[in-house]
């Protein structure tokens, strides 16, 4: 059966009404015709990142919107605790690749659909892989991964004399959920706000001060963190790194946390709390995933067909109290670290006092950067110099002494370009140091 006939089938008459009839609210360039469904079915190529709570829903939604060429990437395997919402998986699938099981389920259920699974990390692919897709949809629970793919899509943009080549833009539709809250957004890299433009929307992770954990615990969480951060490395009970999925490990942490909480008279340790703290568990339900994935899939459909104007560009959802949504235009940041095409300027008040360690802390803690383990290099007198790199042991040892040197001691000058590499970005970012003289001091 040819693709043309397939799109003519009665089965798709729902889609055909929307795609083959004119509508007063469609995109100005929308021309209703049967070719649109043909395009969706035979040419349009989608990438779904994540085959978890959102990913399972996305694959189902997109397949029933007529998309047939879909790739899906997920590095995870199926766990029992996924089954309350990741509806393409069954008990017998526990331990198997999420991407593979999800793809084969969809392909079996929806005749003609060809989902291609990749049991890998997004970082395993380069731009040649990503370039083949018309639209990329993300259903991720990791901010780092979101930032990485966002950085990848921005790095693939072509500019001609500063003018963006529209052909190089791959739209990204991104969804996220936590409990009964969620958000969905449409990103046109280089054109609308990207993930980095709105980085301050992600709340910083809760970290308890080490002195509280060690000396003055008050909450059950403090006791658990103590066992996890201090006791585990000390006692090394199983001679392996802590694995949150190993029930023996969790049981050990539970028992030791309970001991510590009794010692300090702190109530409230439960097995579930221990698991939650150790694994940073984010609560999740089927319904929120269905809503957010449905919104994302609808946007993909609009972008691919022009049958409506895509959402502009950010929506939040919450159904704790009634059902609430709010849609607004997140603004592109003029000096966005990733998509602005303008050099990043980092103002330094006192380069004589500021140590490299403080610069690294700034990159990790400031809402605008939120980096994980930044590695810094620069060029001094025409020669590359690695200032610090934590991720490679030999280099870390060689550059560790630099941490306590001031920027001036390291030979960094006003206007110096620092090249920053971090897991949050596929490319190296350039930050320009700007030494500002405090004129209050001058008086």
């Amino acid at each position: 059966m040819s693709e043309f006939q397939e799109s003519n089938q009665k089965r798709w008459s729902h889609l055909r009404k929307v795609l083959e009839r004119p509508g007063p609210f469609s995109h100005p360039e929308f021309e209703p015709s049967s070719e649109i469904l043909d395009f969706i079915m035979s040419s349009c190529k989608l990438l779904v990142i994540g085959a978890g709570g959102l990913g399972c829903e996305l694959l189902k939604d997109l397949a029933l919107l007529g998309f047939k060429n879909i790739h899906v990437i997920d590095m995870d395997t199926i766990d029992l605790s996924n089954l309350n919402r990741q509806f393409l998986f069954r008990h017998k699938d526990i331990g198997s690749s999420k991407a593979e099981i999800a793809a084969s389920f969809i392909n079996k259920k929806i005749p003609g659909c060809q989902v291609i699974p990749h049991f890998s990390k997004i970082q395993d692919f380069d731009e040649n892989f990503y370039r083949q897709f018309h639209i990329i949809v993300c259903g991720l629970d990791s901010i780092v991964a979101r930032r990485w793919i966002n950085g990848m899509l921005v790095s693939m943009l072509n500019y001609d004399d500063g003018v963006l080549d529209q052909q190089s833009v791959i739209p990204m539709v991104d969804g996220g959920t936590e409990g009964f809250k969620g958000n969905a957004r449409v990103i046109l890299p280089g054109m609308s706000a990207c993930v980095e433009c709105t980085l301050d929307l992600y709340p910083p992770q809760v970290n308890y001060p080490l002195c509280t954990i060690a000396n003055t615990p008050r909450l059950p969480e403090h006791c658990i963190e103590y066992v996890k951060l201090i006791l585990w490395p000390q006692e090394n009970p199983f001679n392996v790194p802590l694995d949150g999925d190993d029930t023996q490990h969790i049981a050990w942490i539970y028992e030791k946390s309970m001991e510590r909480s009794l010692q300090f008279n702190i109530p409230g340790i439960t097995y579930r709390l221990v698991q939650g703290v150790v694994k940073h568990i984010i609560p999740a339900v089927a319904s929120t995933n269905a809503v957010i994935a449905g919104i994302c899939a609808t946007e993909v459909f609009k972008i691919a067909t022009s049958c409506c104007v895509p959402m502009n560009n950010y929506m939040v959802f919450n159904d704790v109290d009634g059902i609430y949504t709010y849609t607004y235009e997140a603004e592109k940041k003029e000096d966005c670290l990733v998509c602005s095409q303008t050099p990043q300027i980092l103002e330094i008040k006192d380069p004589n006092k500021m140590k490299l360690r403080q610069l690294l802390e700034l990159l990790a803690e400031s809402a605008a950067y939120q980096m994980k383990t930044p590695g810094l290099t620069t060029v001094i007198d025409g020669r590359n110099k690695t200032l610090y790199m934590a991720t490679i042991k030999s280099i870390e040892e060689r550059t560790r002494d630099n941490l306590n040197k001031s920027l001036v001691e390291l030979g960094l000058r006003d206007g110096q370009d620092i090249l920053v590499a971090d897991v949050t970005s596929p490319t190296t970012l350039i930050i320009k140091l700007k030494y500002v003289i405090d004129d209050v001091e001058m008086k």
Partner: protein, 535 residues
């Protein structure tokens, strides 16, 4: 000191592991209520099965599908829970089988009969459900069903998904919520009127006499209380209420910082916390309006033998409030920078006070139950404890009956229809659509060659409806045209959005947690916007 035995770590059951991510939200109690629920779905449309999917996965007790239709080719194109080789088979049966695969803990059955048939033969069939959900149900069946369920006090959720438009209407006669899970709440600290044990503890600490080390570890509420008393001494016993007065109290706290030869030192973290608490923790005790309204409700003041435990507890709470002038203490102490002993001591003070107060409310509730001549066990101590803890977030919804809504002769939508940003025009369109379906037995625009004529017909129906309501506004032709463009098409992703929303409303009703929709919701997938209205 006696050494405590090392507790054995509990082995989690497979079930609690499977449902872990949701039990973290609604707790074991919510999960149990969910597992005891029976949900009826009328019409296994794509929207219908999407709703059930998000209920079967978290583990409702059972579902029953009522649907007399046979699976069509169009159904296969939009409904995930039908098999592509099931065309011509009972839609209720196929959907039931596909949905049951999702979760072996859930039971499911089906009735291969039209809802009209069941309504006219065995109405009381619908009585046995915790919630009834209906999709794509025509007016002529919807209205008697709505009336019947209203009288039987079974909640009904009605949904439609058509093109880029979605609609949810929730009908519930009375629904009471103890845990509404508010996003944020001011801590309940009672610093203006501490009970004797708390007062004794707070009075025992002279913040200004503390050395540097102890000062950094004294809990912020001790600091706040200390400087509050100082403020009161300076102001004839008055407490700070205006912004300027509160700023003055903050200044007292700020001025306490240590100085050295370079000037004032940085204020400690716990003192910063105390500054922060000035704003929202020194308000005079009052009963929140929403709670007072519940305590004054007829159901609370006129209990009968058939009153629910909720209202019995409210009556007990009412007596407590009349005596104490305040709600029971919540008993939770927010985290604050402090040494372990001070924090734990304070925490115990709050906890035991809350415990004593909830026991007092429980004794009253038990007494009330005895006086009514109902079994004392209707309210349990643990229920009352949770009730007291959440006393400030109690919530009651009294909805409206859909059949009454349709009978209303005057409906003033003018203020909404004048507002270009309001989605209320969708209500008019949907009512027009429903009437079109009853009159012509088809969706407007269902057939390609009938779109334009159907636009005219629908416009005329909508004009008549607006005239019936005495509403002099019009709905734009473009909107009417757009809904005829859909021709009854069901876009799967729109149904998935609505399905998730409707499923969570069912979960709210069943678990008696969170605030349900009150009572109508429109979703416009063209602009990805939504609005809720009370009809």
């Amino acid at each position: 000191m006696m050494s405590s035995p090392i507790p054995k770590s509990p082995e989690q059951s497979d079930k609690s592991k499977k449902y872990d991510r949701q039990i973290r939200l609604w707790g074991d109690h919510g999960q149990k209520l969910l597992e005891n629920s029976k949900v009826c779905l009328i019409n296994a449309t794509a929207l219908g099965t999407e709703i059930l999917k998000s209920l079967v996965l978290p583990g409702i007790g059972s579902f029953t599908i009522v649907d007399g239709e046979k699976v069509t080719e169009e159904d296969i194109g939009s409904n995930f829970f039908l098999d592509s080789d099931s065309i011509g088979m009972s839609r209720a049966q196929v959907a039931t089988q596909c949905l049951l695969e999702l979760n072996p803990d859930v039971r499911g059955d089906y009735i291969d009969e039209s809802p009209e048939h069941i309504m006219s033969h065995t109405q009381d069939f619908f009585n046995k459900f915790t919630v009834v959900v209906a999709t794509a149900l025509p007016e002529k069946t919807l209205l008697p069903l709505s009336r019947y369920l209203w009288d039987s006090k079974v909640p009904l959720i009605v949904c439609r998904s058509i093109g880029f438009l979605g609609y949810i209407r929730l009908q519930v006669k009375e629904h009471t919520v103890i845990k509404s899970h508010p996003d944020s709440e001011n801590p309940d600290l009672r610093l203006l009127s501490p009970w004797p044990a708390l007062k004794e503890y707070l009075d025992s600490i002279n913040v200004e006499a503390l050395d540097k080390k102890s000062r950094a570890h004294v809990p912020s509420i001790v600091i706040l209380y200390y400087y509050l008393n100082k403020y009161k001494e300076l102001h004839g016993g008055n407490i700070p209420s205006s912004r300027a007065e509160k700023e003055e109290l903050r200044k007292l706290i700020r001025d306490s910082r240590f100085h050295d030869e370079h000037g004032p030192k940085l204020l400690e973290e716990n003192f910063e916390e105390a500054l922060h608490y000035v704003n929202n923790c020194l308000n005079p005790i009052s009963i929140p309006q929403n709670v007072q309204k519940i305590l004054d409700d007829d159901c609370c003041t006129n209990l009968t033998q058939s009153s629910s435990p909720f209202w019995t507890m409210c009556a007990a709470l009412r007596e407590f409030v009349q005596l104490e002038g305040a709600l029971p203490l919540r008993g939770a102490l927010p985290d604050m920078a402090a040494d372990t002993d001070s924090y734990v001591t304070l925490q115990r003070l709050y906890h035991s006070r809350a415990q004593a107060q909830s026991e007092a409310v429980y004794r009253r509730a038990a007494q009330i139950a005895r006086n009514l001549g109902v079994a004392q066990e209707t309210v349990t101590e643990s229920e009352v404890k949770s009730f007291c803890k959440h006393a400030s977030e109690l919530h009651v919804i009294r909805g409206s009956c859909i059949a009454d809504e349709y009978q209303r002769t005057s409906l003033d939508l003018s203020s909404y229809l004048e507002d270009p940003d309001s989605l209320m025009f969708y209500y008019v369109i949907l009512r027009g659509l429903e009437r079109f379906i009853s009159e012509f037995n088809t969706y407007p625009g269902q057939f390609d060659d009938q779109v334009e004529p159907d636009v005219l017909k629908l416009k005329s129906i909508i004009g008549k409806l607006l005239a019936e309501w005495g509403c002099c506004h019009v709905v734009s032709d473009e909107r009417v045209h757009e809904v005829c463009r859909y021709g009854g098409a069901e876009l799967h992703s729109v149904s998935a959005i609505l399905g998730g929303c409707a499923a969570h409303e069912v979960i709210k009703l069943v678990t008696q947690q969170y605030k349900p929709l009150d009572n109508a919701f429109f979703f416009d997938a063209i602009t990805s916007t939504s609005a809720a209205f009370c009809l």
